[in-house]
């Protein structure tokens, strides 16, 4: 069983992020982390391939910055890492992105299952996994909260999917693409040996030409980034004699605000 997972680097969730005078997004020199939602997809990939004796590959599409996420993935226990970089390609355009991603899957050839995190914490385009599935003609199972059964021999998968109204149980044939939710597992931390091995790894870089992919004109463009208007809050710490006094004042305020 060959399981592939996709990831990339994102700014640390605690980083201050702003738009500078040139209109570019900046987070200063704060380090990037592996996209936090992908800790769950990486863990799931490692657990499945360990128990089935299969193969695991992680792919990032984009510039060298994403090598950090790939090294983190290797340090956790993914076997192989690949970076796909096409200078000039707009990887934020999901049709462009999925063209490169599909090319990489085709080049690997023997992929049974692809696992994504629920979303990317920075751009959260909500499209990557689904659009790759459509391009490959594979089944998409998104928002998976549990893999109930995975039968490599029969080529089937059974999952529990989270919808706002509850949990749906679905079965499908492989190859398939799934995106997983937080809570599906407890992601492991890379250990010292893993980190040392990952630091030495040479990560191959594939280009569009290597994949035989011709990229279309991007379907979307980001026109501009801007800082949200500052939120002017003045906090009223409710004063009063005792708890009952304070809650009466609070309730009165909430009625004045017309939120009740």
């Amino acid at each position: 069983m060959h399981v592939v997972t996709f990831t990339r680097s994102t700014p640390d969730t605690a980083a201050k992020v702003w738009v500078d005078e040139e209109g570019a997004v900046s987070w200063g020199d704060v380090a990037t982390v592996v996209n936090p939602w992908d800790e769950y997809s990486l863990e799931e990939t490692i657990a499945i391939t360990k128990s089935s004796g299969g193969k695991s590959t992680v792919i990032a599409i984009g510039a060298a910055l994403h090598d950090d996420a790939l090294k983190h993935s290797l340090a956790m226990g993914i076997q192989d890492a690949i970076r796909v970089e096409e200078v000039g390609a707009d990887i934020h355009d999901s049709l462009n992105w999925s063209g490169l991603a599909a090319g990489a899957l085709q080049k690997l050839g023997d992929v049974d299952l692809v696992i994504f995190g629920k979303e990317s914490i920075d751009v959260a385009s909500d499209q990557h996994s689904m659009q790759l599935a459509r391009r490959m003609g594979w089944t998409m199972l998104s928002f998976v909260s549990a893999i109930v059964e995975l039968d490599a021999a029969a080529g089937t998968i059974r999952v529990e999917k989270s919808l706002e109204q509850g949990k749906q149980t679905l079965s499908a044939r492989l190859p398939a693409i799934i995106s997983v939710m937080k809570g599906i597992n407890e992601p492991r931390y890379p250990n010292f040996l893993g980190i040392r091995k990952a630091a030495k790894a040479k990560i191959p870089v594939w280009t569009a030409a290597d994949l035989g992919v011709e990229l279309p004109a991007p379907a979307t463009s980001a026109l501009r980034y801007f800082n949200p208007p500052p939120r002017a809050v003045s906090t009223e710490i409710i004063a009063g004699e005792g708890v009952s006094d304070k809650v009466e004042t609070l309730v009165a305020r909430l009625f004045e605000e017309k939120v009740l």
């Binding site: 969730t13 998409m140 928002f143 059974r158 109204q165 499908a172 979307t220 980034y225 708890v243």
Partner: protein, 344 residues
């Protein structure tokens, strides 16, 4: 020319959030000087289309083929893609629910069109559809546009006003056949388990959330429980017997911080924040939550924020409109009682 809006339904009933999508679609269609077409798929599609007409959708494309009675991405996407290819709408709108996200992304890929997701503002400039959306957990905003014939747009829940009800407009309903034949369907629905009585966080007008502070419950756990197990018992008891009554009296949804989720006090479905749900209520009441930046990312845009925390220095007070410094196990029951007197 038309603007499509997918009217999401569950168990044969339209979700009320769909009227927000219809409201956004009507505003866009008015700017484009065209009509809105409601796309209604699944059980009761015609009744739902008639209901949509009551909110201003004059045209509807409906299909209630048996293969659509349970929502499934393949069957829904196949039909939506086919309708888009045939009618080339200027835009396709839906709420960014889990289904809306995957359905629109899939149909956009099928038809080679661009998509803008999680939009909070939509406008037309020189015939171009421009969507404003948050990025980097709302620390930054961005404007996006698509260059394709159709623009797919998912809308953040509660960011757009619902369409207004209009009287006496029977919809022009067009029936369509299902696009996918059963043997081309790769996944099968085996079951569905609903969580009874839960209010959807992203649609909720009021949210009451609990954090790690829920573990400081003065009630004593049953004999034999110590350490972490005792803390879990105390927090669970607090969620069930202290927060739940406040939730009930307000008709609110129950949220939580990640610390509470990770400690096993409450299931992940309730988590608000950067790796949980992003919510947009009129009123957010944070109880025993410190207000870490990742929690703020999920609730910062709530209209009115109330914090109940015993630490006057907690960062949540910088964000809150109203704060009570005190023990939540004293404040929340008193607040519940006061509200019950006022709200009945």
């Amino acid at each position: 020319m038309t603007v499509f809006v997918w009217i999401e339904s569950f168990a044969g009933r339209a979700l009320s959030s769909s009227w927000e999508a219809l409201g956004a679609a009507s505003a866009l269609a008015a700017d484009l000087d065209c009509a809105v077409t409601a796309v209604v798929l699944g059980a009761n599609a015609e009744e739902i289309a008639a209901e949509a007409a009551g909110y201003g959708a004059r045209q509807a494309r409906v299909c209630s083929d048996a293969s659509l009675s349970e929502y499934r991405l393949e069957t829904y996407a196949a039909l939506l893609s086919q309708l888009v290819a045939e009618h080339k709408p200027k835009a396709v709108l839906a709420v960014a629910s889990n289904r809306g996200r995957e359905l629109l992304a899939s149909a956009a890929a099928d038809t080679g069109n661009g998509m803008i997701s999680d939009v909070i503002e939509l406008r037309l400039a020189d015939g171009q559809i421009i969507g404003t959306r948050p990025a980097y957990a709302g620390k930054v905003l961005m404007e996006m546009t698509a260059h394709t014939e159709t623009t797919f747009v998912t809308l953040r829940a509660r960011a757009f006003s619902p369409a207004a009800a209009v009287a006496g407009n029977p919809p022009a309903i067009q029936r369509t056949a299902a696009a996918a034949t059963p043997d081309s369907i790769a996944s099968l629905v085996e079951g569905f388990a609903t969580e009874s009585g839960t209010v959807n966080l992203t649609d909720a007008a009021i949210i009451v959330s609990g954090g790690r502070g829920m573990a400081n419950n003065p009630r004593n756990p049953p004999d034999g429980l110590t350490g972490e197990a005792a803390a879990i018992w105390k927090a669970k008891d607090g969620f069930a017997n202290t927060l739940a009554p406040l939730v009930d009296v307000l008709g609110a949804a129950l949220g939580a911080s990640r610390a509470a989720v990770d400690a096993g006090y409450i299931p992940y479905e309730h988590q608000v924040g950067q790796t949980g749900k992003v919510v947009n209520p009129d009123l957010y009441i944070a109880c025993g939550i410190s207000g870490a930046i990742q929690h703020q990312a999920g609730m910062r845009n709530s209209k009115v924020i109330v914090a109940i925390n015993k630490d006057a220095q907690a960062p949540i007070f910088k964000l809150a409109h109203y704060g009570i410094v005190g023990d939540l196990y004293e404040v929340v029951p008193a607040l519940t009682a006061a509200l019950r007197r006022r709200l009945g």
